[in-house]
Symmetry: C2
Protein backbone atom coordinates (compact mmCIF):
# COMPACT_ATOMS: atom_id res chain seq x y z
CA UNK A 1 0.00 0.00 0.00
CA UNK A 2 0.91 3.63 -0.42
CA UNK A 3 0.08 5.46 2.80
CA UNK A 4 -0.16 9.21 3.29
CA UNK A 5 -0.02 10.53 6.86
CA UNK A 6 -1.31 14.08 7.19
CA UNK A 7 0.04 15.27 10.51
CA UNK A 8 -0.87 18.45 12.40
CA UNK A 9 0.76 19.05 15.77
CA UNK A 10 2.63 22.18 16.81
CA UNK A 11 5.00 20.40 19.23
CA UNK A 12 7.63 18.10 17.65
CA UNK A 13 8.09 16.35 21.01
CA UNK A 14 4.39 15.61 21.51
CA UNK A 15 2.84 12.17 21.86
CA UNK A 16 0.82 12.97 18.75
CA UNK A 17 4.01 13.59 16.75
CA UNK A 18 5.43 10.35 18.15
CA UNK A 19 2.34 8.55 16.86
CA UNK A 20 3.09 9.87 13.38
CA UNK A 21 6.68 8.65 13.64
CA UNK A 22 5.67 5.26 15.04
CA UNK A 23 3.13 4.80 12.25
CA UNK A 24 5.73 5.70 9.62
CA UNK A 25 8.13 3.13 11.03
CA UNK A 26 5.51 0.44 11.62
CA UNK A 27 3.98 0.74 8.16
CA UNK A 28 7.37 0.78 6.43
CA UNK A 29 8.35 -2.33 8.40
CA UNK A 30 5.22 -3.94 6.97
CA UNK A 31 6.50 -3.13 3.49
CA UNK A 32 4.25 -0.14 2.73
CA UNK A 33 5.37 3.12 1.15
CA UNK A 34 4.75 6.06 3.51
CA UNK A 35 4.49 9.76 2.65
CA UNK A 36 4.15 12.27 5.47
CA UNK A 37 2.72 15.77 5.19
CA UNK A 38 3.84 17.39 8.44
CA UNK A 39 1.72 20.52 8.14
CA UNK A 40 3.38 22.62 10.85
CA UNK A 41 6.86 21.70 9.60
CA UNK A 42 5.78 22.58 6.06
CA UNK A 43 4.29 25.88 7.26
CA UNK A 44 1.17 24.83 5.42
CA UNK A 45 -1.05 27.71 4.28
CA UNK A 46 -4.38 27.10 5.99
CA UNK A 47 -6.48 29.80 4.38
CA UNK A 48 -8.51 29.12 1.22
CA UNK A 49 -8.34 32.28 -0.83
CA UNK A 50 -7.80 33.79 -4.27
CA UNK A 51 -4.03 33.25 -4.06
CA UNK A 52 -4.68 29.51 -4.55
CA UNK A 53 -5.43 30.03 -8.23
CA UNK A 54 -2.94 30.93 -10.95
CA UNK A 55 -5.69 31.50 -13.49
CA UNK A 56 -9.33 32.20 -12.77
CA UNK A 57 -12.56 31.09 -14.40
CA UNK A 58 -14.04 34.33 -13.07
CA UNK A 59 -11.48 36.93 -12.05
CA UNK A 60 -14.15 39.30 -10.66
CA UNK A 61 -16.07 37.05 -8.30
CA UNK A 62 -14.50 34.20 -6.32
CA UNK A 63 -16.47 31.00 -5.89
CA UNK A 64 -13.81 28.84 -4.31
CA UNK A 65 -15.15 25.43 -5.40
CA UNK A 66 -15.67 26.56 -8.99
CA UNK A 67 -12.12 27.90 -9.15
CA UNK A 68 -10.84 24.61 -7.72
CA UNK A 69 -12.55 22.81 -10.58
CA UNK A 70 -11.18 25.26 -13.14
CA UNK A 71 -7.69 25.27 -11.62
CA UNK A 72 -7.58 21.49 -11.57
CA UNK A 73 -8.56 21.24 -15.24
CA UNK A 74 -6.25 24.06 -16.29
CA UNK A 75 -3.44 22.77 -14.02
CA UNK A 76 -3.08 26.24 -12.51
CA UNK A 77 -3.70 25.45 -8.84
CA UNK A 78 -1.05 26.70 -6.42
CA UNK A 79 2.00 24.47 -6.28
CA UNK A 80 1.56 23.52 -2.60
CA UNK A 81 -1.96 22.28 -3.34
CA UNK A 82 -0.89 20.30 -6.41
CA UNK A 83 1.89 18.61 -4.44
CA UNK A 84 -0.62 17.43 -1.84
CA UNK A 85 -3.14 16.36 -4.46
CA UNK A 86 -0.43 14.18 -6.03
CA UNK A 87 0.28 12.54 -2.67
CA UNK A 88 -3.44 12.02 -2.16
CA UNK A 89 -3.87 10.44 -5.58
CA UNK A 90 -0.98 8.06 -4.92
CA UNK A 91 -2.33 6.99 -1.52
CA UNK A 92 -4.33 3.84 -0.86
CA UNK A 93 -4.71 4.81 2.79
CA UNK A 94 -4.73 8.32 4.28
CA UNK A 95 -4.16 8.69 8.01
CA UNK A 96 -5.08 12.03 9.58
CA UNK A 97 -2.94 12.34 12.72
CA UNK A 98 -3.90 15.25 14.98
CA UNK A 99 -4.92 16.47 18.42
CA UNK A 100 -8.60 17.26 18.87
CA UNK A 101 -9.14 21.03 19.07
CA UNK A 102 -12.74 21.94 19.87
CA UNK A 103 -14.01 18.45 19.02
CA UNK A 104 -12.60 18.91 15.54
CA UNK A 105 -9.38 19.43 13.56
CA UNK A 106 -6.83 22.17 14.27
CA UNK A 107 -7.29 24.98 11.73
CA UNK A 108 -4.09 24.08 9.86
CA UNK A 109 -5.53 20.64 9.07
CA UNK A 110 -8.96 22.04 8.21
CA UNK A 111 -7.06 24.19 5.75
CA UNK A 112 -5.61 21.06 4.16
CA UNK A 113 -9.14 19.69 3.75
CA UNK A 114 -10.47 22.99 2.39
CA UNK A 115 -7.64 23.43 -0.12
CA UNK A 116 -6.63 19.88 -1.14
CA UNK A 117 -9.95 18.01 -1.39
CA UNK A 118 -10.69 19.83 -4.61
CA UNK A 119 -14.02 19.97 -6.35
CA UNK A 120 -13.85 18.23 -9.70
CA UNK A 121 -11.44 15.57 -8.53
CA UNK A 122 -12.72 14.54 -5.10
CA UNK A 123 -16.42 15.27 -5.57
CA UNK A 124 -18.84 17.21 -7.75
CA UNK A 125 -21.60 16.52 -10.26
CA UNK A 126 -23.42 13.97 -8.08
CA UNK A 127 -20.21 12.16 -7.27
CA UNK A 128 -20.17 11.76 -3.51
CA UNK A 129 -20.53 9.07 -0.86
CA UNK A 130 -20.32 5.74 -2.71
CA UNK A 131 -19.84 7.60 -5.99
CA UNK A 132 -17.24 10.00 -4.59
CA UNK A 133 -14.06 10.79 -6.45
CA UNK A 134 -11.81 9.15 -3.85
CA UNK A 135 -13.63 5.83 -3.90
CA UNK A 136 -11.26 2.93 -3.40
CA UNK A 137 -9.05 4.75 -0.91
CA UNK A 138 -9.19 4.16 2.83
CA UNK A 139 -9.06 6.89 5.48
CA UNK A 140 -8.48 6.72 9.21
CA UNK A 141 -8.23 9.32 11.95
CA UNK A 142 -5.49 8.86 14.55
CA UNK A 143 -6.28 11.38 17.26
CA UNK A 144 -5.20 12.47 20.70
CA UNK A 145 -7.77 13.92 23.06
CA UNK A 146 -7.76 15.27 26.60
CA UNK A 147 -11.03 13.61 27.57
CA UNK A 148 -11.77 10.09 28.72
CA UNK A 149 -14.11 7.52 27.17
CA UNK A 150 -16.87 8.02 29.78
CA UNK A 151 -17.13 11.70 28.73
CA UNK A 152 -17.62 10.89 25.05
CA UNK A 153 -20.18 8.10 24.97
CA UNK A 154 -23.94 7.95 24.68
CA UNK A 155 -24.72 9.11 28.24
CA UNK A 156 -21.46 11.04 28.59
CA UNK A 157 -21.33 14.78 29.09
CA UNK A 158 -20.32 15.43 25.47
CA UNK A 159 -22.25 12.57 23.86
CA UNK A 160 -20.63 10.09 21.48
CA UNK A 161 -17.23 10.93 20.04
CA UNK A 162 -18.26 9.68 16.59
CA UNK A 163 -21.19 12.09 16.63
CA UNK A 164 -18.81 14.96 17.38
CA UNK A 165 -16.60 13.76 14.52
CA UNK A 166 -19.52 13.43 12.13
CA UNK A 167 -18.62 16.35 9.83
CA UNK A 168 -15.18 14.79 9.38
CA UNK A 169 -16.03 11.09 9.22
CA UNK A 170 -19.22 11.33 7.21
CA UNK A 171 -19.30 14.90 5.88
CA UNK A 172 -15.73 14.92 4.58
CA UNK A 173 -14.09 11.49 4.28
CA UNK A 174 -17.25 9.50 3.60
CA UNK A 175 -18.54 12.26 1.30
CA UNK A 176 -15.52 11.94 -1.00
CA UNK A 177 -16.13 8.20 -1.29
CA UNK A 178 -13.31 7.05 0.93
CA UNK A 179 -13.73 3.88 2.99
CA UNK A 180 -13.62 5.28 6.51
CA UNK A 181 -12.07 3.08 9.19
CA UNK A 182 -12.94 3.54 12.88
CA UNK A 183 -10.79 6.30 14.44
CA UNK A 184 -7.87 5.32 16.63
CA UNK A 185 -8.27 7.38 19.79
CA UNK A 186 -5.48 8.07 22.27
CA UNK A 187 -7.53 9.14 25.28
CA UNK A 188 -6.57 11.50 28.10
CA UNK A 189 -3.09 12.03 26.65
CA UNK A 190 -2.10 15.25 28.48
CA UNK A 191 -2.84 13.68 31.87
CA UNK A 192 -1.39 10.17 31.74
CA UNK A 193 1.94 8.74 32.88
CA UNK A 194 4.81 7.77 30.53
CA UNK A 195 4.09 4.06 31.07
CA UNK A 196 0.50 4.53 29.97
CA UNK A 197 1.71 6.43 26.93
CA UNK A 198 3.85 3.43 26.05
CA UNK A 199 0.82 1.17 26.27
CA UNK A 200 -1.20 3.52 24.08
CA UNK A 201 1.55 3.57 21.48
CA UNK A 202 1.66 -0.22 21.46
CA UNK A 203 -2.13 -0.26 20.96
CA UNK A 204 -1.68 2.06 18.00
CA UNK A 205 0.97 -0.19 16.48
CA UNK A 206 -1.38 -3.16 16.94
CA UNK A 207 -4.12 -1.21 15.18
CA UNK A 208 -1.79 -0.53 12.26
CA UNK A 209 -1.15 -4.27 11.90
CA UNK A 210 -4.89 -4.90 11.63
CA UNK A 211 -5.93 -2.31 9.06
CA UNK A 212 -7.24 -4.91 6.64
CA UNK A 213 -9.44 -6.53 9.29
CA UNK A 214 -11.18 -3.32 10.40
CA UNK A 215 -14.89 -2.94 9.73
CA UNK A 216 -15.47 0.43 7.99
CA UNK A 217 -18.10 2.91 9.11
CA UNK A 218 -21.35 2.91 7.14
CA UNK A 219 -22.66 5.88 5.19
CA UNK A 220 -25.53 6.46 2.77
CA UNK A 221 -25.50 5.01 -0.71
CA UNK A 222 -26.44 7.28 -3.59
CA UNK A 223 -28.58 4.38 -4.82
CA UNK A 224 -31.05 5.23 -2.07
CA UNK A 225 -31.61 8.78 -3.30
CA UNK A 226 -33.04 10.16 -6.54
CA UNK A 227 -31.56 12.78 -8.86
CA UNK A 228 -32.84 15.60 -6.60
CA UNK A 229 -31.26 13.75 -3.65
CA UNK A 230 -34.64 12.90 -2.16
CA UNK A 231 -34.87 9.45 -0.53
CA UNK A 232 -36.27 6.84 -2.92
CA UNK A 233 -39.43 5.53 -1.25
CA UNK A 234 -38.66 1.89 -1.98
CA UNK A 235 -35.05 2.01 -0.79
CA UNK A 236 -34.06 0.00 2.22
CA UNK A 237 -32.53 2.14 4.98
CA UNK A 238 -28.80 2.40 4.48
CA UNK B 1 -26.45 45.10 23.20
CA UNK B 2 -22.87 44.92 22.04
CA UNK B 3 -22.71 42.61 19.05
CA UNK B 4 -19.59 41.05 17.54
CA UNK B 5 -19.87 39.64 14.02
CA UNK B 6 -17.02 37.28 13.14
CA UNK B 7 -17.13 37.05 9.37
CA UNK B 8 -15.21 34.65 7.13
CA UNK B 9 -15.78 34.85 3.39
CA UNK B 10 -13.10 35.22 0.73
CA UNK B 11 -15.33 37.12 -1.75
CA UNK B 12 -16.29 40.69 -0.76
CA UNK B 13 -19.18 40.60 -3.25
CA UNK B 14 -20.64 37.35 -1.92
CA UNK B 15 -24.12 36.92 -0.48
CA UNK B 16 -22.45 35.86 2.75
CA UNK B 17 -20.55 39.15 2.95
CA UNK B 18 -23.78 40.99 2.18
CA UNK B 19 -25.38 39.19 5.14
CA UNK B 20 -22.64 40.56 7.38
CA UNK B 21 -23.25 44.06 6.05
CA UNK B 22 -27.03 43.78 6.36
CA UNK B 23 -26.69 42.52 9.95
CA UNK B 24 -24.39 45.40 10.82
CA UNK B 25 -26.88 47.91 9.44
CA UNK B 26 -29.95 46.22 10.89
CA UNK B 27 -28.50 45.85 14.37
CA UNK B 28 -27.20 49.42 14.43
CA UNK B 29 -30.64 50.62 13.32
CA UNK B 30 -32.01 48.79 16.37
CA UNK B 31 -29.63 50.80 18.54
CA UNK B 32 -27.02 48.11 19.17
CA UNK B 33 -23.25 48.60 19.02
CA UNK B 34 -21.70 46.38 16.33
CA UNK B 35 -18.08 45.28 16.00
CA UNK B 36 -17.03 43.27 12.92
CA UNK B 37 -14.04 40.98 12.64
CA UNK B 38 -13.74 40.46 8.90
CA UNK B 39 -11.16 37.69 9.03
CA UNK B 40 -10.12 37.65 5.37
CA UNK B 41 -9.85 41.45 5.27
CA UNK B 42 -7.78 41.34 8.48
CA UNK B 43 -5.56 38.59 7.01
CA UNK B 44 -6.27 36.71 10.23
CA UNK B 45 -3.58 34.19 11.19
CA UNK B 46 -5.38 30.85 11.30
CA UNK B 47 -2.65 28.65 12.68
CA UNK B 48 -2.29 28.04 16.43
CA UNK B 49 1.42 27.86 17.10
CA UNK B 50 4.29 28.97 19.34
CA UNK B 51 4.33 32.44 17.78
CA UNK B 52 1.08 33.18 19.64
CA UNK B 53 2.95 33.53 22.93
CA UNK B 54 5.29 36.35 23.93
CA UNK B 55 6.39 34.52 27.05
CA UNK B 56 6.13 30.81 27.73
CA UNK B 57 5.28 28.77 30.83
CA UNK B 58 7.40 26.03 29.25
CA UNK B 59 9.73 27.17 26.50
CA UNK B 60 10.83 23.61 25.66
CA UNK B 61 7.52 21.84 25.17
CA UNK B 62 4.41 23.49 23.73
CA UNK B 63 1.04 22.59 25.20
CA UNK B 64 -1.11 25.15 23.44
CA UNK B 65 -3.94 25.35 26.01
CA UNK B 66 -1.52 25.68 28.93
CA UNK B 67 0.32 28.48 27.16
CA UNK B 68 -3.00 30.20 26.46
CA UNK B 69 -3.71 30.15 30.18
CA UNK B 70 -0.23 31.42 30.99
CA UNK B 71 -0.28 34.05 28.25
CA UNK B 72 -3.67 35.31 29.38
CA UNK B 73 -2.55 35.69 32.99
CA UNK B 74 0.81 37.21 32.03
CA UNK B 75 -0.83 39.40 29.33
CA UNK B 76 1.70 38.17 26.80
CA UNK B 77 -0.61 36.68 24.19
CA UNK B 78 -0.07 37.88 20.63
CA UNK B 79 -1.61 41.27 19.95
CA UNK B 80 -4.05 40.01 17.30
CA UNK B 81 -5.44 37.47 19.78
CA UNK B 82 -5.77 40.03 22.58
CA UNK B 83 -7.65 42.42 20.29
CA UNK B 84 -10.18 39.70 19.48
CA UNK B 85 -10.48 38.62 23.11
CA UNK B 86 -11.32 42.22 24.01
CA UNK B 87 -14.06 42.32 21.38
CA UNK B 88 -15.36 38.98 22.65
CA UNK B 89 -15.43 40.16 26.25
CA UNK B 90 -17.35 43.28 25.25
CA UNK B 91 -19.94 41.33 23.25
CA UNK B 92 -23.37 40.32 24.51
CA UNK B 93 -24.06 38.51 21.25
CA UNK B 94 -21.55 36.93 18.87
CA UNK B 95 -22.66 36.14 15.32
CA UNK B 96 -20.48 33.78 13.31
CA UNK B 97 -21.14 34.59 9.65
CA UNK B 98 -19.62 32.11 7.19
CA UNK B 99 -20.12 29.72 4.29
CA UNK B 100 -20.22 26.04 5.18
CA UNK B 101 -17.01 24.31 4.04
CA UNK B 102 -17.11 20.55 4.56
CA UNK B 103 -20.10 20.78 6.90
CA UNK B 104 -18.01 23.00 9.15
CA UNK B 105 -16.20 26.35 9.34
CA UNK B 106 -13.61 27.57 6.82
CA UNK B 107 -10.13 27.08 8.28
CA UNK B 108 -9.64 30.82 8.83
CA UNK B 109 -12.62 30.85 11.20
CA UNK B 110 -11.58 27.61 12.91
CA UNK B 111 -8.32 29.42 13.54
CA UNK B 112 -10.23 32.22 15.28
CA UNK B 113 -11.87 29.62 17.53
CA UNK B 114 -8.57 27.82 18.19
CA UNK B 115 -6.69 31.03 19.04
CA UNK B 116 -9.28 33.35 20.61
CA UNK B 117 -11.40 31.05 22.79
CA UNK B 118 -8.55 30.84 25.27
CA UNK B 119 -8.26 28.35 28.06
CA UNK B 120 -8.39 30.11 31.40
CA UNK B 121 -10.87 32.73 30.26
CA UNK B 122 -13.42 30.81 28.20
CA UNK B 123 -13.18 27.42 29.89
CA UNK B 124 -10.93 25.35 32.13
CA UNK B 125 -10.96 23.90 35.64
CA UNK B 126 -14.43 22.36 35.35
CA UNK B 127 -15.87 25.55 33.89
CA UNK B 128 -17.78 24.52 30.80
CA UNK B 129 -21.35 24.19 29.54
CA UNK B 130 -23.53 26.00 32.10
CA UNK B 131 -20.43 26.90 34.11
CA UNK B 132 -18.44 28.02 31.07
CA UNK B 133 -16.42 31.22 31.08
CA UNK B 134 -18.60 32.91 28.45
CA UNK B 135 -21.86 32.32 30.32
CA UNK B 136 -24.28 35.19 29.82
CA UNK B 137 -23.31 35.82 26.20
CA UNK B 138 -25.40 34.71 23.27
CA UNK B 139 -24.03 33.12 20.09
CA UNK B 140 -25.63 32.51 16.72
CA UNK B 141 -24.39 31.05 13.46
CA UNK B 142 -25.43 32.82 10.25
CA UNK B 143 -24.43 30.46 7.46
CA UNK B 144 -24.69 30.00 3.75
CA UNK B 145 -24.79 26.48 2.33
CA UNK B 146 -25.04 24.95 -1.13
CA UNK B 147 -27.47 22.22 -0.08
CA UNK B 148 -31.22 22.29 0.36
CA UNK B 149 -33.28 21.49 3.48
CA UNK B 150 -34.35 18.03 2.23
CA UNK B 151 -30.69 16.99 2.06
CA UNK B 152 -29.96 17.98 5.65
CA UNK B 153 -32.84 16.60 7.67
CA UNK B 154 -33.47 13.35 9.52
CA UNK B 155 -34.03 11.16 6.45
CA UNK B 156 -31.93 13.37 4.17
CA UNK B 157 -28.75 12.16 2.51
CA UNK B 158 -26.50 14.02 4.97
CA UNK B 159 -28.73 13.69 8.06
CA UNK B 160 -29.71 16.67 10.21
CA UNK B 161 -27.79 19.91 9.77
CA UNK B 162 -27.66 20.48 13.52
CA UNK B 163 -25.99 17.08 13.95
CA UNK B 164 -23.34 18.09 11.42
CA UNK B 165 -22.87 21.35 13.32
CA UNK B 166 -22.66 19.60 16.68
CA UNK B 167 -18.94 20.22 17.33
CA UNK B 168 -19.58 23.94 16.79
CA UNK B 169 -22.98 24.38 18.45
CA UNK B 170 -22.45 22.07 21.41
CA UNK B 171 -18.72 21.32 21.44
CA UNK B 172 -17.58 24.93 21.07
CA UNK B 173 -20.24 27.56 21.74
CA UNK B 174 -22.27 25.55 24.26
CA UNK B 175 -19.06 24.28 25.87
CA UNK B 176 -17.89 27.82 26.68
CA UNK B 177 -21.22 28.52 28.37
CA UNK B 178 -22.71 30.71 25.68
CA UNK B 179 -26.47 30.67 25.10
CA UNK B 180 -26.65 29.21 21.61
CA UNK B 181 -29.47 30.44 19.39
CA UNK B 182 -30.72 28.34 16.45
CA UNK B 183 -28.55 28.91 13.36
CA UNK B 184 -29.86 31.13 10.59
CA UNK B 185 -29.39 29.12 7.41
CA UNK B 186 -29.34 30.63 3.92
CA UNK B 187 -29.97 27.49 1.86
CA UNK B 188 -28.86 26.72 -1.69
CA UNK B 189 -27.21 30.14 -2.07
CA UNK B 190 -24.92 29.45 -5.05
CA UNK B 191 -27.83 28.18 -7.15
CA UNK B 192 -30.68 30.61 -6.52
CA UNK B 193 -31.89 33.69 -8.42
CA UNK B 194 -31.31 37.29 -7.29
CA UNK B 195 -34.97 37.63 -6.28
CA UNK B 196 -34.70 34.61 -4.01
CA UNK B 197 -31.54 36.08 -2.52
CA UNK B 198 -33.50 39.21 -1.72
CA UNK B 199 -36.12 37.13 0.08
CA UNK B 200 -33.44 35.28 2.04
CA UNK B 201 -31.88 38.56 3.10
CA UNK B 202 -35.25 39.83 4.29
CA UNK B 203 -35.69 36.61 6.30
CA UNK B 204 -32.31 37.24 7.89
CA UNK B 205 -33.28 40.81 8.81
CA UNK B 206 -36.50 39.47 10.34
CA UNK B 207 -34.48 36.97 12.34
CA UNK B 208 -32.28 39.79 13.65
CA UNK B 209 -35.38 41.62 14.87
CA UNK B 210 -36.47 38.58 16.88
CA UNK B 211 -33.24 37.65 18.66
CA UNK B 212 -34.80 38.05 22.10
CA UNK B 213 -37.68 35.74 21.26
CA UNK B 214 -35.56 32.83 20.01
CA UNK B 215 -35.56 29.61 21.99
CA UNK B 216 -31.92 28.59 22.64
CA UNK B 217 -30.57 25.10 21.99
CA UNK B 218 -30.31 22.81 25.01
CA UNK B 219 -27.04 21.32 26.27
CA UNK B 220 -25.99 19.34 29.34
CA UNK B 221 -25.86 20.94 32.76
CA UNK B 222 -22.79 20.30 34.89
CA UNK B 223 -25.24 19.68 37.75
CA UNK B 224 -26.01 16.33 36.14
CA UNK B 225 -22.40 15.11 36.29
CA UNK B 226 -20.07 14.42 39.22
CA UNK B 227 -16.53 15.67 39.75
CA UNK B 228 -15.15 12.95 37.45
CA UNK B 229 -17.75 14.00 34.86
CA UNK B 230 -19.69 10.77 35.27
CA UNK B 231 -23.48 11.10 35.07
CA UNK B 232 -25.10 11.43 38.49
CA UNK B 233 -27.47 8.47 38.78
CA UNK B 234 -30.30 10.53 40.24
CA UNK B 235 -30.08 13.33 37.70
CA UNK B 236 -32.97 13.90 35.37
CA UNK B 237 -31.97 13.75 31.71
CA UNK B 238 -30.92 17.17 30.49
Amino acid sequence: MNVLIVHAHNEPGSFCTSMMKAATQELRAQGHEVDVSDLYAMQWKAVADAADFGSRANADYLVYALEQRHGWEAKTLAQDILAEVEKLQRADLVIFNFPIYWFSMPAILKGWVDRVLISGLCYGGMRFYDRGGLKGKKAMLAITIGGQPHMLCEDGIHGELQEMLRPILRGTLGYTGMTVLPPFVAWHVPYIQPGQRGELMEQYRQRLRQIDALQPLRFPSMDHFDAALRPRPAAAPW
